[in-house]
Amino acid sequence: MLRARNLWWLVVLAAFGVFPLVVTNPTYTTIAVFTVIYMACASSWNMFSGYSGYIALGSAAFYGTGAYTMALLSIHLHMAPGAAMFWLVPLGGLVAMVFAVPIGWIALRVRRHTFVVITIAIFFIFQLSAINFGFTGGTSGLNLPFITWGYQYYNVPFYYVGLGLVIVATTLSALVRRSRFGMQLLAIRDDEDRALGLGVRTHAVKVTGFTLSAFAVGSAGALYAMFVGQIYPQFVYDPMFDVSIALMTFLGGLGTLSGPLLGALLLEASQQYLTIQFSNGSLYLILFGALFLIVIMFMPQGIVVALRDRVTRRAERERAAVSANEAPLVHDVPRDVAVGGAG
């Protein structure tokens, strides 16, 4: 069964791989670039917040830091506009990780509810710094070296680098979940005091998870900065950013591997599409809020878990009907439900 599942991942990956070859309309490939950026962020956010249960609402601090790393370095190193700038994408992620260590060390000293608020406060410190310090260009922002790739194909390299980030984030998330370290994060989610009592060094584990999750978010911010060509503090340090990726993850399934990817794919793609179609931000807010409410009230565990539950129930009914015959699917599924559930 495990092999069939891996096959699924490969099919989906192949579909994403050929997407810009099939759909060449720049309007849609632009949507695709934003979608992969958010998929990488949601997957990475879930690796810490989904597994540990510590909901962070300040990841935009890392996104913005990655974006400013890209902007400042490409400007001050006088980089030639072009593909070489992609090297700064992982660097943006590393710089975000460097910032994440002290932030995590401070913010994770407190328990969950206070943690949420502290991450918001830290986010605002970053946003206000970007607005107030001189080297960031303040509210007038920064212009990156102007890339002159043709309009028709401009999006494609960004799409593939973004897809690479999605693969990195998801692989990391999968590895973490199977590792002893991932088990420790899940133990913290389920009962932190007991985990501590059983010898899990909770603070170190949490800070490590928090720092790891900053990498893809920072890289995505750097990629975003390079893609749009100019950045402003209020857009790269955006309070809606964290709400969006939290919603994406909740919609798909908090703590599951595929949930954040699915949620980001559905939400970001539809948001970009609606923005292009209607250009009415207020209507979008209402739709977004309503959808958010419906998901939380009726599918608190997300689409992935809700679907798996259905599959499991059906399989159990069949198994009951065919008496106690071995049904391999059932062995595979409940383990994931147990891990992904109670999120």
Partner: protein, 294 residues
């Protein structure tokens, strides 16, 4: 940088800070009794401000008289939100879910306000809004003084209600221990609904003063809610006195830094102080250490 400026900063801290304290009290009360973090408090303050605005522009009702209408309205809004969404949340993840649910509610209201009132900034106007008087060299804006008096009166009556009435006793009992409160016959469900209603009702007065002293639109709620949240965390979640002190401290720190250094850094200084205080006391100034585990 002189004594007058510092005195003036202290005055602003007390006057403006008390209004923030009033808005934050609603938040901390709801957290204390229900374990609910109401992210929508920011947009509800803005809704309160827009209600005052609509009453004044369309029916020429004075801002302070209008409170007699907007306060009960906001109470009902709170009760509806609690009955429709918050009250349905259960289980160990209730608090985390409440953050998301109230955020969703907040987005809904923000979208609706943008559609009704547009995104252009407005400010509440009245003959007394821009008037001030001076004691020595320190100037007092009428609206700030009125806001302080209003906040003091409302916080005072909230105190009397909580500590001198039978209902207040059941609120405090629910605050201390929900299960035991239910065991001695308190209708915790009803207490929760009314508490949430009261927590939201204070946004009518808070919003009116906010709207008269700042120009605002629906997106001002982000700045507001971040301030309100940090106030209750700084004061210690669930502590009413803590919210008071932290509200005043927030404005005071901001203004002093604005006078001594530069206004650009005033907001940031407060956030830095917040982080430093929490390093020293993770439970906040008046919070009980690990009173509520996770």
């Amino acid at each position: 940088m002189n004594a007058i400026a510092l005195l003036s900063a202290a005055k602003d801290g007390v006057l403006t800070g008390s209004v923030y304290a009033l808005m934050a009290t609603g938040l901390t009360l709801v957290f204390g009794v229900m374990d609910i973090i109401n992210i929508a408090q920011g947009i509800l303050v803005i809704l309160g401000a827009y209600l005052s605005y609509a009453l004044q522009v369309h029916w020429h009702i004075d801002l302070f008289v209008g409170l007699l209408i907007t306060t009960p309205t906001m109470f009902i809004v709170g009760v509806v939100i609690e009955r429709a969404f918050i009250g349905r949340l259960k289980g160990p993840e209730k608090t985390a879910m409440s953050i998301l649910v109230t955020y969703a509610v907040s987005l809904l209201i923000e979208g609706a306000l943008n559609m009704i009132f547009s995104v252009n900034d407005v400010q509440l106007q009245a003959s007394y809004v821009s008037k001030s008087f001076a004691i020595g060299q320190v100037h007092f804006g009428f609206i700030y003084v009125a806001g302080f008096i209003l906040a003091a009166v409302l916080l005072g009556s909230l105190y009397v209600m909580l500590y001198r009435t039978r209902f207040g006793m059941s609120v405090r009992a629910s605050l201390a221990d929900q299960a035991s409160a239910a065991l001695v016959g308190i209708d915790v469900r009803r207490v929760s609904t009314i508490t949430f209603g009261i927590g939201v009702a204070v946004t009518a007065a808070g919003g009116m003063i906010y709207g008269a002293t700042n120009s605002f639109n629906a997106s001002s709620s982000y700045d507001l809610i971040s301030r309100l949240l940090t106030i209750i965390v700084l004061g210690g979640m669930g502590s009413l006195g803590g919210a008071m002190l932290a509200g005043i401290a927030m404005v005071f720190i901001g203004d002093v830094v604005g006078v001594v250094w530069s206004p650009v850094w005033s907001t940031m200084a407060y956030f830095v102080v917040l982080v430093l205080v929490l390093l020293w006391r993770p439970q906040g100034l008046f919070g009980r250490a690990s009173a509520r585990v996770a």
